[in-house]
């Protein structure tokens, strides 16, 4: 049995994750959720004083905005669209007959105006663009959402529906790259406080196909993405639990995000993979939170 399956089995056995029969789609126990809530409070303790505007969107986004984002150019393999039955009585009869014989009843479903959110910050950009020019001090936003990525796996750290907490910064190049560096420093400090071994490395997004290879190489060459890696299922191949992304002016130009002086805004974001961080904590300190090291429990606010 490989190590990934064994961690997943231990998570199931301890009740922390709940099997649904689909790889990467799990229920969470109260204790698991509590770890995530407490880690989010630790994030707040670091980022709360920066004065970010908090927004929470549901895990579905406007399909038109999704199309504008260009996600299908880069990650068609990961996207999830929401389709529904839109027919009449006769279509309904056909649908039921099709299901009765285990046919492909989904093929006549029609696309709705909703696409599953691929990253917590995606609904933000059109929202901010609609407001007009950014204030003189730039923009800082706090987001959290369940996100969907179609990548079934028995690695518990690669889930299809998971939560991402993000801070997004909009402003000048200097402003947003400084924001990114601040959070890289904070990320290292936070993870050390909760007893996790981390490494920081330059990274790339999983762009699709051969064109994607070039996008990935370009991203790496320009140091646009860094990841904070923590062992979860493997010490040799640690898991990205935070990412630090500088988009240059790509999102600013795409969405029409402008600074007070009219210049196109640069943007950057920092993302926390909340389930991955919780899994890293369980993998490192054990399935029973009561036995976690006292200093780690203290940082997370558990009473001893």
């Amino acid at each position: 049995m490989d190590m990934q399956t064994s961690l997943l089995d231990r998570l199931f056995d301890s009740g922390l994750l709940i099997d649904t029969g689909v790889e990467g789609l799990y229920g969470r126990s109260g204790a698991f959720e509590d770890v995530i809530a407490r880690f989010e409070r630790l994030i707040d303790a670091y980022g709360g004083r920066d004065g970010a505007e908090a927004m929470r969107f549901p895990p579905g986004m406007n399909r038109a905005h999704f199309e504008t984002s260009g996600y299908m150019k880069s990650f068609p393999q990961l996207a999830g669209t929401v389709h529904s039955f839109c027919g009449g009585d006769a279509d309904h009869m056909n649908l039921l007959q099709c299901m009765e014989v285990n046919g492909d009843w989904t093929k006549d479903q029609k696309a709705t105006d909703i696409v599953l959110t691929p990253a917590a910050c995606y609904p933000l950009y059109p929202t901010i663009a609609k407001r007009g020019r950014l204030p003189a001090k730039g923009g800082l936003y706090d987001l959290q959402s369940y996100c969907f990525r179609h990548e079934p796996s028995n690695d518990p750290a690669r889930q299809q529906l998971f939560r991402m907490r993000e801070y997004v910064c909009m402003g000048t190049q200097e402003h947003v790259t400084e924001f990114r560096q601040t959070w890289m420093d904070r990320g290292l400090e936070m993870m050390a406080k909760v007893g996790l071994d981390v490494t920081m490395d330059v990274a790339n997004d999983p762009f699709f196909g051969r064109a994607g290879r070039m996008m990935a190489n370009n991203q790496r060459d320009q140091n646009l993405k860094f990841e904070l890696l923590i062992p979860v299922t493997s010490a040799a191949k640690p898991t990205a639990c935070m990412s630090f992304n500088y988009h240059q002016d790509a999102f600013g130009a795409k969405w029409g995000l402008n600074l007070e002086n009219g210049d196109v805004a640069h943007t950057a974001c920092v993302g926390f993979g909340l389930e991955r961080i919780a899994l890293a904590l369980f993998a490192r300190h054990g399935m029973d939170i009561a036995t976690w090291p006292a200093d780690v429990r203290k940082v997370l606010g558990y009473q001893d």
Binding site: A211, M214, N218
Partner: protein, 84 residues
């Protein structure tokens, strides 16, 4: 070959300036070639010259200038149309 590359750039590069105004060694990124457009140019060149860029050439440097693209294509086709 260079003219063919210029035609592909004009078609796929999405440049804000006419390709004719760019020297062979002009920095295409400085001229406005986006990351995504550079990929489109790469695919356009592969089709036009019937070549496939290996991994080590799939990077910004290979598409930095018309001269750089020419060098890459010459390397891939084994032709050196230096006189062109």
């Amino acid at each position: 070959m260079k003219q063919k590359i210029r035609d592909i750039l004009a078609k796929h590069g999405g440049l804000p300036v006419p390709v004719d105004t760019l020297a062979d060694d002009a920095d295409l990124y400085a001229a406005g070639l986006s990351s995504f457009a550079s990929v489109q140019v790469m695919l356009g060149i592969e089709e036009a010259f019937d070549v496939e860029f290996p991994d080590n050439l799939l990077n910004r440097k290979s598409f930095q200038s018309i001269a750089a693209i020419t060098r890459a294509v010459e390397g891939l086709t084994g032709s050196a149309e230096a006189a062109e």
